[in-house]
């Protein structure tokens, strides 16, 4: 499978730059940063052939990649929508109404936690503390945090997503 999967040249150059941060023979340390690049480049999730490709690149066994990829919550193990709505629901976000935000999204998009909307645009992913406790409730969308959320603000963000007018990176 790995013959058909390859990073774009600029991503590959980035991978080699990351590997160079570690002592010789310690290229496995690059695994998590490389998985981030892989997830971004290959549709937002890590299919087995993608992980096998990463293993080959880093000269490690595929199982070493699988065990890491399945451990960390930022890596998606199944296909996701274009917009992954990661809504924090822990402690301070809960105190500030994150349950209402989550309920609103579930109803509005007619999806349950972890599911993707029928149009393939949105995946809802409740998250456990994203470090925005002072600006709660919040959600992460791509690279960015959207904080001090209200129902109206969420609706506005969803509309902007539908228009393709929101920054993810």
């Amino acid at each position: 499978m790995s013959e058909t999967i390859a990073f774009k040249p600029e991503s590959l150059a980035q991978v080699h730059k990351i590997i160079a941060r570690y002592p010789e023979g310690r290229q496995k340390s690059a695994l998590i940063p490389v998985l981030h690049i892989a997830q971004k480049e290959f549709d937002g999730w890590l299919a087995v052939p993608v992980m096998d490709y990463v293993a080959e690149l880093l000269s490690i066994t595929p199982i070493e990649v699988y065990e890491v990829a399945t451990f960390y919550t930022m890596f998606n193990m199944k296909p996701v929508g274009k917009y992954v709505l990661e809504v924090c629901r822990t402690g301070p976000c809960m105190l500030n109404g994150s349950d209402n935000i989550l309920d609103h999204i579930r109803k509005k998009l007619n999806i349950k936690d972890g599911e993707t909307s029928e149009d393939g645009l949105f995946t809802l992913k409740p998250a456990e503390c994203l470090g925005a406790c002072g600006y709660a409730p919040m959600m992460q969308l791509g690279k960015f945090f959207h904080e001090n959320l209200t129902i109206e603000k969420v609706d506005e963000i969803l509309d902007l997503c539908r228009q393709g007018a929101i920054a993810l990176d």
């Binding site: 340390s29 503390c129 470090g131």
Partner: protein, 451 residues
Amino acid sequence: MGKKLLLKNAHIEGIRYFETYRKHGGYEAAEKALKMKPEEILEEVKTSGLRGRGGAGFPTGMKWSFLAKPEGVPRHLVVNADESEPGTFKDRYLMEFLPHLLIEGMLISSYTLGSNTSYIYIRGEYSWIPDILEEAIEEAKAAGFLGKNILGTGFDLEIYVQRGGGAYICGEETALLESLEGRRGNPRLKPPFPAVKGLWERPTVVNNVESIAAVVPIIEIGGAEYAKIGVGRSTGTKLISACGNIKKPGVYEIDMTITVEEFIYSDEYCGGIPNGKKLKACIPGGSSVPIVPANLLLKTINGEPRYMNYESLADGGFATGTMMGSGGFIVLDEDQCVVNHTMTLARFYNHESCGQCTPCREGTGWMYKILKKIEKGEGKMEDIDLLWDIQRKIEGNTICPLGDAAAWPVAAAIRHFRDEFEWHVNNPELSQTQNYGIANYADPIPAVANN
């Protein structure tokens, strides 16, 4: 207005860029440090009394002095920026707005420790911050403060930023090192400690972002002057990230001489509780530290004012007091349900357990399920005792402190707010539609003795 050391220039526009940072005295401490001997800097840090700002509060100078220095073996400094404790968002502030303060602190610390390659391990979800840090690193390098032969001293230093993949456990120093080596964040057995065998089995010091940033003012003003700020063994300043039911959530720098009451109610800090509500309880040091009801939070068991410092917050120990922890200050108003809040924390720790130790892997799941049941009004009175029993069996029985972190919130909630748990059991129908806070809140609930 309290003394500010870390955030004194935070209000200056463009302070995240080298030119502005330098214009306001940036890297002068590094210049001073590079003219000193590493052992002299270590003495200054020891004299300062700086305690690790990540939560454990262990003296930083002492930690540095444990670093093994075998001939010909490289050593490393790793900055712990895996800030994942609910309620804690202070390191994010430092990295986002004052990246050069961290870089300068790393330069001084790396020089002291003899690390030529240092890493910042940052939680993956802070996905825009590595760009800020990398830009700052490039700027510092261009100005000769990083790279080869820094300021002609012969000292070389490279700093790299490593993004994690989203796991609370990676804030534990050995799990962090495992993750940095490209594995699951499973904590290691100690000993050996990282100071002897750390990153790639090399001697390593792992320090929190705030601790490393604090090294800059220590060198600027001297360890002895730094130690004069604050009180007792709570020297210097501390960043507090305040959140929950307060008027002004945010990151504040305090000099640890103010009272908890002043911190919550004064306009300089949290500004009080919104909508005229009463203070019910608070978790002052990040989600893992014991929750305390308002009466014990504002006064010690002897009826004296409680202060925002390590000793005063811990007064009374785990029975009635709490801890400074990471400084993640979560305030609950009278309408909040302690059972519901504790359930969300139990869910968090269950989700974030690495699964390596059975008491934590299984126990956190049990606690979450039982709390969920009680909160829904489907619990029995025995469930409260079972919950107590489970947390006791987790605490101290795991190889890393995540087990304790999961057990303490549950223990403190039952200890101080048992009647709320009982209310949920006794009022199954009311539990479906409202919570204890709204239904029953009167005056703060007195604590019961530890057992």
